[in-house]
Symmetry: C2
């Protein structure tokens, strides 16, 4: 059939059913990750399309979709993080292949048939659960964001990020499925003095964090599913602790052990790291909940508005304390605010997408968004945040983000 051929350089070594990505990249082609390149006919109605299952039965995205995660500019590729491309996200889910990452010892390869979760400590009967055991137990499916508490950390001293992917891309939203911790707690029986739980990962960093048992009992989940399939390896395959609204680092990936105790364990990650250094030199520990926050993704830094006229300002809002209640947008740097449209029904500890129609008159403007959650928490201005927290902090930056629109349509990152 004279219907299509793989693009030059990609086709030679491929048998039927093989994916072109590896070979195309090895040959120096620019095939985007996760895509297969095909010839593009002038008129697709005039030749048969490609056959079914040529991709082996698990499909890939279009060759024209090129957005990828990008890595933080730090020297190691084992202990680092990657950002979700928020500007090109469509809808209110992050594709699993684009979920942000934070790794402390690389991504382990784990056989789920050999992986176990141990629940022990201040319990009546310590137990081991296989992945199959957990999958047989009653499950819940819930949509939640995960945000690294280091999200937007480059913005403390001065506006730095050159894209919304880098400024706010340590944030992703998935549908998660798993077993509630409360279900496991009934299986083992908690002692009366059970107050904290150590969660431990099976990665090379043996990541450990202490979590209050009230949080685990209220909505903590041992997740094995993400967006309709198993967790992705980068997200903790086969098991991850999910703590809706808590900082990402506590959502222990490759979860292998939960130890119940009467006190926190004061691990490296919750003392030296993931603590908040205040202006007086003392550090706050266990600042676990993520705050009310939002960002405008269109237009955002690095973009260019082609000309004055009608636009739709678009963005994302979220809070670790509950549902988003309102989002407001300002085009004059916070002097006046308009309520934005919220595009999806707010769910607890889940992102919403918002928009506001805007006619740009061609004059300079400063775009901001402000989130208020159902507890009444309001996203602060940069000045308010620094007044309260000082400039010693790394984590939990949730200030209102300002994008300056210049007369030529260029967008820059400013502290307004």
């Amino acid at each position: 059939m004279p219907r299509r051929r793989l693009l030059a350089g990609a086709g030679a070594a491929l048998g039927a059913g093989a994916l072109a990505v590896g070979s195309a990249r090895a040959a120096g082609e620019t095939a985007p990750p996760g895509a297969v390149r095909y010839d593009v006919p002038d008129d697709p109605t005039k030749i048969p399309g490609r056959p079914l299952l040529e991709d082996g039965g698990y499909g890939t995205r279009s060759q024209f979709e090129t957005e990828v995660r990008v890595k933080a500019p730090n020297p190691t590729d084992i202990t680092s993080w990657t950002f979700t491309p928020l500007a090109s996200q469509i809808g209110n889910l992050t594709p699993s292949g684009l979920h942000f990452e934070r790794h402390h010892g690389g991504i382990p390869t784990i056989d789920p048939a050999r992986h176990e979760l141990i629940l022990h400590g201040l319990v009546d009967t310590a137990k081991k659960f296989t992945v199959a055991d957990l999958k047989r137990m009653p499950s819940v499916t819930r949509k939640h964001f995960i945000e690294c508490s280091g999200n937007t950390l480059y913005e403390w001293a001065k506006p730095t990020a050159k894209s919304v992917q880098v400024s706010h891309g340590l944030l992703s939203t998935s549908e998660w499925t798993g077993v509630l911790f409360s279900t496991l707690a009934r299986e083992v029986g908690l002692k009366e003095n059970a107050l904290w739980v150590l969660a431990e990962g099976a990665d090379a960093a043996v990541m450990t964090r202490s979590v209050p048992i009230e949080k685990l009992l209220s909505d903590g989940m041992i997740a094995y599913g993400q967006n309709g399939e198993a967790l992705r390896p980068e997200q903790g395959y086969p098991l991850r602790l999910l703590l809706p609204g808590y900082e990402g680092n506590t959502h222990i990936k490759w979860l292998r052990r939960l130890q119940v105790s009467d006190r926190p364990f004061m691990t490296r990650e919750e003392t030296s790291k993931y603590s908040d250094l205040m202006p007086d030199g003392r550090a706050k520990l266990f600042t676990l909940q993520m705050d009310a926050k939002s960002v405008i993704t269109f237009p955002s830094v690095g973009m260019m508005l082609p000309k004055p006229g009608r636009y739709e300002i678009r963005g994302i809002a979220w809070s670790g304390r509950g549902r988003v209640q309102t989002v407001e947008v300002s085009i004059d740097g916070g002097k006046s605010w308009s309520p934005a449209n919220i595009e999806n029904a707010p769910e607890p500890m889940c992102t919403v997408r918002f928009n506001l129609p805007w006619v740009w008159d061609g004059r300079p403007a400063t775009l901001q968004s402000r989130c208020t959650d159902e507890t009444g928490a309001v996203q602060p201005t940069y000045q308010d945040l620094v007044r309260r927290r000082g400039l010693n902090s790394v984590y939990h930056y949730n200030a209102i983000q300002s994008w300056a629109v210049a007369a030529d349509g260029g967008i820059s990152n400013v502290h307004a």
Copy 2:
């Protein structure tokens, strides 16, 4: 670093950043589609994991996840369909790579920069919309199933399917994002006698269907997003018509033209095909809404219960007429029914997952599920369906499905 190597046969030809899938398959390896194979360490805490972005920035699933779409046993690989692996689905979304497919002329490769949607006919001003035009317009994001009206077609005369993937796998659920047809209608202005719309695809079959304009104006969507990213090529990239609850064939993929008319166009697909032949030899046309339906996915045909004891019966229910209201489960072939737990808040024209704890006593049992939707429509028994529709039909089979559990734990497909 002595940390991991790709499995034998996959590593030799690969540069850094390359995916192993293509080469591994070419070398006869059994790497599952959509996965990369890595060595599995005995203890993943003892060696660094793999580095970030080795996959190029768009992640893939674990090598231990092997479920794939399977093709219908018909002779062509251009005009055929593939089934979603429902038994292994987790949560209430179908991974985009596993969404069922129905193609009539293969999968076209379309450059979104060159693709246009024409809206003409009984309108005040015919217009062309580029994909970029549509993405700038007000959008909606909604979760809906799509079901091929041929789903479960093998079951009319006798129980045939050997897996729930083949019996019910022409059903998938996604979060869809796009522009409502009503938004486009305001742009072009509909004439008073506008009653039907022809939707036309840009595939080699130039697929065409007529749709009542009331449906389009109520919730019809020009979708460009699926599960947080662009539509997958198999789902109509870059544009698809989404008609919540209507038979899948009307959700025209690779959508390029909408022609407004005062009558249906009586295309091949809605006269010769996708019509329902009744017992008296006459055919019903335009039976567009999908009916209340459900199926138990665990346990289901082809599985084996290892021993008597505690199980959780699990399944999926849906209706094209609105929200699922209740799901009932029977273990005695419909003599008695118990209300099932519904795991997620029902949304209009969207699947729900249900479950029911069950203690199997080791004696033969016949498992059934029955869906009732918010309009009061109840999923019929096989006998009721055949009494009403006869055995001439191909499409819109929605009878209660029966799985027989034998004393040895084996599960078979029966008409109970």
